[in-house]
Amino acid sequence: MVSYKKHTLDNGLRVIVHSDGTTPMAAVNILYDVGARDEEPERTGFAHLFEHLMFEGSVNVDRFDQNLQNAGGENNAFTTNDITNYYISLPAQNIETAFWLESDRMLGLGFSEEKLKTQKNVVTEEYRQSYLNQPYGDSWLLLRPLAYRVHPYRWATIGKNIEHIQEASLGDVKKFFSTFYRPSNAILSVAGNVQPEKIFSLAEKWFGDIPAGTPHVRNLPREPEQDGTKRSSVRRDVPQHQIFMAFHMCERSHPDFHTADLISDILSNGESARLPSRLVHDSKVFSEVNAFVTGNLDPGLLVVAGKPHNGVDIEKAEDMLWKEISDLVHNLASKRELDKVKNRVEATQTFSDSNVMAKAMNLAYYELQGDASLYNYQKDAYSAVSQEGLRRLAREIIREENMSVLHYGLV
C-alpha cells in the first residue's frame, strides 16, 4: 500500500506526494501526456527528439544538467508510444532546485537552430547505435507496421526512419511544445523524505503562474479488427533465426488487462514457465523464448518471441511455439500455476515499492490512467483472475486471424 496526497493547481497541473522517511533522497517525476502516438505520420520520432531538446536550456536557465548537478541531483527521461516521462533524483534537502528547473522548462524552452541541429545528430547516432548497429535491433521497426495498419503504434518512438528526424524544423518544435507541454497535460509526482504540504506550496510557488494552455483533445484512429494472419520475413546478418508472433489485445485500463498480463506470465515469467521450461530446457528446440504484453494505453499487443537453435526446421519451431501458446485456449491452466504467477506479481510489486523513484513514476502513471489510487488496486486485480477467465481471454486473443508473424532470419 503506497499512501499519497493529491492536489490540483488552478492551471490543471496535478501534484501527487508520497512521504518515505527512511531515505535521505527525493524523487521528482513529471509525466507529460504525449508520446509517439501523437505524432504526424510524416513527422515520426518527434516526441523523442523533443525529449532531448528539453535538456538544452529553458527561458531563464541555460544549463539544466549543470544546475541539477550543483544540487547533487541526477536525471533522465524516456519516451514511449504513450508518454514522455522526466525524472530527477536528488538529496531531499535540495528539492526546490528540481521545482525551479522543471517549472522553467514547462514555462518555455530556449529554442535555437544550433541546439536542434546537434540533438538531431545525437538522436541519429542513437538510432544507429540502438536500432541499426545491433543484431535484431530493427525487429520492432518491422513488427509494428506489420501488426498495426492504421493506429500510430505502427511506428516506434525512435521514428520510422532517420530522414524524419533530420527534417524536423524549429517551427515543428515550437508547435509541439505549445500543444503538449502545458500544465493541464502534465502530472508531477514526488516521493521521498518530503512533507506533502511543503511540496504543494512549492508546486504553487513554481508552477502556479504557468498559463494553462488549451487542453489537447486526442483523436486517434482505432485499429480495425484483424481478419487473417499477416506474415513477413527478412534476412539479416545474424547468427540465429528469430520468430515473433504478435496478437492484438486490450488497452491498459481495460478490465481484461490483468488477465492478459497473466497469460504472458504463464507463458514465460520465470524459468519454470511453460515456454522456457518446455521449449528451451525440455525439448531444447529454442535457445531463448519470451512472451510479454506491451501494456499500452490504447489496445496493445501480446508478443511471443523465440530463437530456435540453428539447424532446427523453422516451420517446425513455429508449430511448436503455436502449440504451446494455443494450449491455453483448449485447456485450463492449473490452480497452482495461476497461484504461482500471482505470487510473482505480488513480489515484483513489493520489490519495486522499495524504491522511491519507482513509486513516484507509478503514481504518476496510474494518475494518467484515471486515478493514482489504481496503483494500490493492482494486486487485487491480479489476484481476482480465475482459471476460466484466463481461458476465455486466451480464446479471444490467441487466434490465427489475430496474429502477425515476423521471421527474422539468417542471410
Binding site: 527512511t22 535521505p24 533522497m25 536557465v61 544538467d65 549543470q66 548537478q69 550543483n70 544540487a71 547533487g72 541531483g73 541526477e74 538529496p91 534537502q93 535540495n94 526546490e96 532546485t97 525551479w100 517549472s103 522553467d104 546537434t118 540533438q119 545528430n121 545525437v122 541519429t124 547516432e125 544507429r128 547505435q129 540502438s130 548497429n133 545491433q134 543484431p135 503562474d209 546478418d237 545474424v238 547468427p239 540465429q240 515469467n269 520465470g270 524459468e271 519454470s272 514457465a273 521450461s277 530446457h281 531444447k284 535457445s287 531463448e288 537453435h309 497461484d339 504461482k340 505470487n343 510473482r344 505480488e346 513480489a347 515484483t348 513489493t350 520489490f351 515499492d353 522499495s354 524504491n355
Partner: protein
C-alpha cells in the same frame, strides 16, 4: 515576483547515514553480516565466494559453475528447483565476476523459510547434470556469437586483452570453442575447492524478521558444510608494456566503437579517490568534459564516458564510446585533446562546483536503502577495507582543487601505456 534566474538555496550533503552491519560467525566459519532497513517486508540474502574467473583452471568454469547451481541438486531436479523458486516468487540472482561470484535471493519474508532452504540446497549440494551443462553452454555460445557482431562488445574484450595480456585471467578473451571444453568434473571440482565457508561471506539486507538469524545458521552454518582445506588463489604475472593499438574491421558497421585506456590500480591505492574524482571531471558523468564536448557540442555520439575499474589484484581506466563511422577520426582527435587538456586546463569555478556537488549527491544516492548499502559494504569486504574508506572519499572530495586534478592527470592519465581499440570502420 519570483526570481527564476538564480537557483534556490542548496546545501552540500551532510554525511552518509551508514547502516553498519551486525556481524555473526557461524560454527563452520561462515561470516554473516546483517544490514537492517527498508520499508517493505522482504530481504536479500547474498552469498559471496572468492571463486571468480581469476580462480578457474580453464575458461568459463567459474561462470558455468555459478550459473548451473540452479540446474540440479541432490534432492531436486532443475524442473523442481525452477518450480519452487517461481512458486515462492524468490528472485535468484547469480553474478560471476573476475574476482568472485555472488549468489543472492530476494524473497518476501512470508516465503523466507522454503526459499532459504532451497538456497542452501543449491549452493551446498549441486550436482551439475551433464545434459544441463551441455544445453547451458550451447545457449551461451549462441549469445556469444551474437555478441561477436556488436562493435561495443568486440572493443571491450580486445581492450582487456591488450591491457592484461591473453595469459592473464583479467585479459583472457573467451573464444567460441571454449564453450565446448568444460566437463562436469571440472565444475564439481571447482565447486568443491572454492565454494566453502572459509572462502565465503554472507550479507543479509532488508526488513529482517526475528527468526532470520536462526534460519541462516540452521541452513548455512551446520556441520553439513565444512571446509575441505583452504584454497590458495593462483598467481599470474601481470602484463604491462608500452602502448598498443588495435583496429577490428567490421565492413557492415554504421558506427565504430572506441575504447581507450590503461592499467592502473585498485581502490586500496592511496591515490584512488583523487583518481576517481579526476576521472569524473573527465568523463564520469553527464556534465563531464568528454560528454559536453563530444556529444553535446559536436553531436558525434549518443554517449561517451570514462571509468575507473577496481579489481582485487589490479585496476584500470577506460574511455568508451560509439560514434558514427564517418566521424571516427575527429572523435579520436577530440578524445586525445581532452586527455592532454586534463593536465593543462584547470577546472573552472563552476566546473568544480558542479563536480563536487554532483559527486556528493551521487555518493549519498549510492547508499540509499538497505540493498544499495549492502552493495557498498560488499565492496569493502572484497577489498578488506572498512567504512573509513568512504569517509576518506568524502574528505578527498571536499578538499579537491584544480591543481590536485591536473597533478593526478599528469601522474596517471597520461598517454604512457595507453591502449586503443577501434571496432567498426
Amino acid at each position: 515576483m519570483l526570481n527564476r534566474k538564480n537557483p534556490p538555496p542548496r546545501k552540500y550533503i551532510q554525511g552518509i547515514p551508514y547502516i553498519k552491519p551486525k556481524e555473526a560467525n557461524l560454527d563452520n566459519g561462515l561470516r554473516v553480516y546483517y544490514l537492517e532497513g527498508g520499508t517493505e517486508d522482504f530481504v536479500k540474502v547474498e552469498l559471496i565466494f572468492f571463486a571468480g574467473s581469476y580462480h578457474q583452471p580453464k575458461p568459463l568454469i567459474s561462470f558455468s559453475t555459478a550459473n548451473l547451481l540452479r540446474t540440479g541438486s541432490l534432492s531436486h531436479s532443475r524442473r523442481e528447483i525452477n518450480e519452487l523458486l517461481d512458486f515462492y516468487s524468490a528472485h535468484l540472482q547469480v553474478e560471476a565476476f573476475k574476482d568472485f561470484v555472488s549468489v543472492s535471493i530476494f524473497v518476501l519474508n512470508k516465503h523466507l523459510e522454503p526459499a532459504l532452504e532451497l538456497l542452501a540446497e543449491l549452493v551446498l549440494r549441486p550436482t551439475f547434470p551433464e545434459d544441463e551443462m551441455r544445453s547451458f553452454l550451447k545457449n551461451q555460445k549462441q549469445l556469444h556469437l551474437i555478441n561477436q557482431k556488436k562493435v561495443q562488445h568486440l572493443a571491450r574484450t580486445y581492450f582487456s586483452e591488450l591491457v592484461y595480456g591473453e595469459q592473464h585471467p583479467y585479459g583472457y578473451r573467451v573464444k567460441p570453442e571454449d564453450f565446448d571444453k568444460p566437463s562436469r568434473d571440472d565444475l564439481a571440482a571447482f565447486h568443491r575447492s572454492w565454494f566453502c565457508p572459509c572462502n565465503a561471506f554472507c550479507i543479509v539486507s532488508g526488513r529482517i524478521p526475528e527468526n532470520l538469524e536462526a534460519l541462516i545458521s540452521g541452513q548455512l552454518g551446520g556441520s553439513g558444510w565444512q571446509d575441505s582445506n583452504k584454497p590458495q588463489p593462483p598467481e599470474y604475472p601481470m602484463l604491462s608494456s608500452g602502448s598498443r593499438k588495435a583496429f577490428l574491421e567490421m565492413p557492415e558497421a554504421v558506427q565504430s566503437a572506441i575504447r581507450i585506456g590503461k592499467q592502473l590500480f585498485n581502490r586500496t591505492h592511496p591515490a584512488y579517490h583523487r583518481l576517481k574524482i579526476t576521472n569524473a571531471l573527465f568523463g564520469g558523468y553527464f556534465g563531464s568534459r568528454l560528454m559536453q564536448n563530444i556529444r553535446q557540442e559536436k553531436g558525434y555520439t549518443y554517449g561517451v564516458f570514462s571509468n575507473i575499474v577496481s579489481l582485487k589484484r589490479s585496476g584500470f581506466f577506460f574511455i568508451s564510446t560509439q560514434v558514427g563511422a564517418d566521424v571516427r577520426t575527429p572523435a579520436l582527435e577530440e578524445i586525445y585533446r581532452e586527455i592532454r587538456e586534463l593536465r593543462s586546463r584547470p577546472a573552472s569555478g563552476t566546473e568544480l562546483e558542479s563536480l563536487k556537488n554532483y559527486l556528493g549527491g551521487s555518493f549519498l544516492r549510492s547508499f540509499d536503502g538497505p540493498f544499495a548499502q549492502s552493495e557498498r559494504f560488499r565492496e569493502l569486504l572484497v577489498f578488506g577495507l572498512d567504512y573509513s574508506h568512504y569517509d576518506d572519499y568524502l574528505e578527498t572530495l571536499r578538499n579537491i582543487t584544480p591543481e590536485i586534478i591536473m597533478e593526478t592527470a599528469k601522474d596517471y592519465l597520461n598517454e604512457d601505456g595507453m591502449m586503443e581499440v577501434v571496432a567498426g570502420k
